[in-house]
């Protein structure tokens, strides 16, 4: 028999609303058959049916045959069990004997459910505590949270986890509260209401939908990340490289060194906060030329980190953190700090210390950090850098 599937417009722990909803549906000719994520109805003729929800007892998953028979003798038929929390019974009789006639005693039938909620509330609160520490620890404790997020983080995954935990806590505490209020009334001898007016509420589906969307985003992001990464020699890369080329600084006398796979290498990857992250390493040597301290053959190098960020608004903060993080290595000796005002750049900083020159800058959503080790002046190649960034952006 084909069942009619519908979204459940009430929380099952709003017992009166739930019983009213099922009764109203029966009047429309839809008799409940089972409830999971959706409610499934059997289409029959319109009937006056009364439904009751009864909480599961300890270690009870379905009512035993004795109980089912027992209730049937009083006109109550077992329909189904929902969410491992309630059995649903129905009666077609108009002059029926109410299932529970002693509110105080009825309050004890909720003991098992209350214990479950207590356990699940404790578990979800512990989960939230560790979840927040683990997922957002770097933001709370790291000196460079944005840098950490752009370089290593997986934002949609974190949002999904936190949403799931918040959803679980909201559900657990909210439902716990509902049952507590109900049992408090019952234990005072106040009978449970079975008919109430209610407005449809689909918030649980909205939450579930959000979690599904973020799960899909996480999966998409993981696949996108896998297919949008690369690692190769610069000579094999046939697109615009958004940095200064070493040979353009050092001139013709320099030859590139390829002693390891990391030299003259370009790697790029994707991150949810950055469309592309480049790490480019260039190294060369000039035959016959030595470092001034005679420590060996002159071998200049450039290392570049280039970030094409998704959003412009955190570019400045990101660059600050990148600079703060990198300068930590150079803090033992004095260095020269120059903020260059060039209208083409949103920001441009040159830092010099002995034969080391660092270049930090922002062009729109692009943030770069270039570390040059050699005797030439890197700021003379700023035009080249700017042009390459613009070309890179045009080719995106």
């Amino acid at each position: 028999m084909k069942l009619v599937k519908k979204l459940l417009p009430v929380n099952i722990y709003d017992i009166a609303k739930m019983e009213t909803y099922l009764k109203n549906m029966a009047k429309k000719g839809l008799l409940i058959r089972k409830i999971g994520f959706f409610a499934y109805f059997e289409r029959k003729e319109s009937k006056e049916v009364t439904y009751r929800l009864e909480p599961l007892l300890k270690n009870e998953y379905k009512p035993n045959n004795d109980k089912v028979e027992y209730y049937r003798n009083f006109g109550w038929e077992y329909v189904c069990t929902i969410s491992n929390a309630f059995h649903i019974y129905k009666t077609y009789e108009k002059e029926y004997i109410e299932m529970h006639t002693d509110p105080v005693m009825q309050s004890y039938t909720y003991d098992n459910l209350k214990r479950k909620f207590k356990k699940s509330s404790i578990i979800t609160i512990i989960l939230l505590f560790f979840g927040v520490i683990m997922l957002f620890g770097p933001i709370f404790f790291d000196k460079s949270p944005i840098l950490f997020a752009v370089k290593y983080d997986d934002i949609s995954y974190k949002i999904m986890i936190i949403l799931s935990i918040i959803f679980a806590i909201k559900q657990s505490l909210g439902n716990k509260r509902k049952i507590e209020l109900l049992t408090n009334k019952l234990s005072q001898g106040i009978e449970i209401k079975h008919q109430v007016k209610f407005k449809p509420n689909y918030s649980e589906y909205v939450f579930s939908g959000m979690i599904i969307i973020f799960s899909i985003l996480t999966i998409y992001s993981s696949f996108f990340s896998i297919f949008n990464r690369g690692d190769m020699k610069i000579s094999q890369y046939n697109k615009v490289i958004p940095t200064i080329m070493l040979e353009n600084i050092e001139g013709n006398k320099m030859e590139l060194v390829n002693e390891s796979k990391f030299e003259n290498n370009i790697s790029y990857r994707y991150n949810e906060l950055s469309n592309q992250i480049f790490e480019i390493n260039q190294r060369g040597k000039v035959e016959g030329k030595m470092w001034n301290d005679n420590s060996g053959e002159y071998s200049p190098s450039i290392s570049t980190e280039f970030y094409n960020l998704k959003f412009k608004f955190f570019a400045n903060k990101f660059m600050e953190e990148l600079m703060f993080d990198e300068l930590d290595f150079y803090r033992y000796k004095p260095f020269l700090y120059n903020e260059i005002f060039d209208e083409r750049f949103n920001r441009l900083v040159v830092i010099k210390q002995s034969e080391m020159q660092l270049l930090f800058g922002i062009v729109d959503k692009n943030v770069f950090y270039i570390r040059y080790h050699g005797y030439k002046e890197i700021d003379k190649n700023i035009d080249e850098l700017y042009n390459n960034i613009i070309k890179y952006n045009d080719n995106l």
């Binding site: 009751r52 009864e54 007892l57 045959n65 004795d66 109980k67 028979e69 027992y70 209730y71 003798n73 009083f74 109550w76 004997i97 109410e98 299932m99 529970h100 006639t101 002693d102 105080v104 005693m105 009825q106 004890y108 039938t109 003991d111």
Partner: protein, 107 residues
């Protein structure tokens, strides 16, 4: 939890325990007994009866003595009788207190 549930007997619990005083009974007999005894004033729903019988059995106020098909028969224990007597005394005192109050008001 069972102990807490049985500290004070509700009206339904009291009548159900009363039903077992003179003979063993199954659930349906209990309902019929209470219906006759109270002329239908006290209604016992299946959920209430099932829960109370389970609690009474757990608290050793009654014990199951036979199962025929799906019919389970119980009898009251000495502990159950004691509880019933104790509760009866309490009700009697309540009635006496209420009646003496009524007499004072009249005078």
């Amino acid at each position: 939890m069972a102990k807490k549930a049985l500290e004070v007997l509700t009206e339904s619990m009291y009548y159900i325990l009363m039903a077992f005083l003179h003979k063993e009974m199954c659930g349906k007999d209990v309902v019929d007994f209470i219906n006759n005894k109270t002329n239908g004033r006290i209604k016992i729903g299946p959920g209430t009866l099932y829960t109370i019988l389970a609690k009474f059995e757990e608290g050793e106020f009654i014990k199951e003595i036979s199962i025929e098909g799906r019919k389970r028969t119980y009898e009251i224990t000495n502990k159950g009788k004691e509880i019933f007597e104790k509760e009866l005394e309490r009700y009697k005192l309540c009635v006496l207190d209420a009646e003496s109050e009524e007499v004072n008001e009249v005078s």
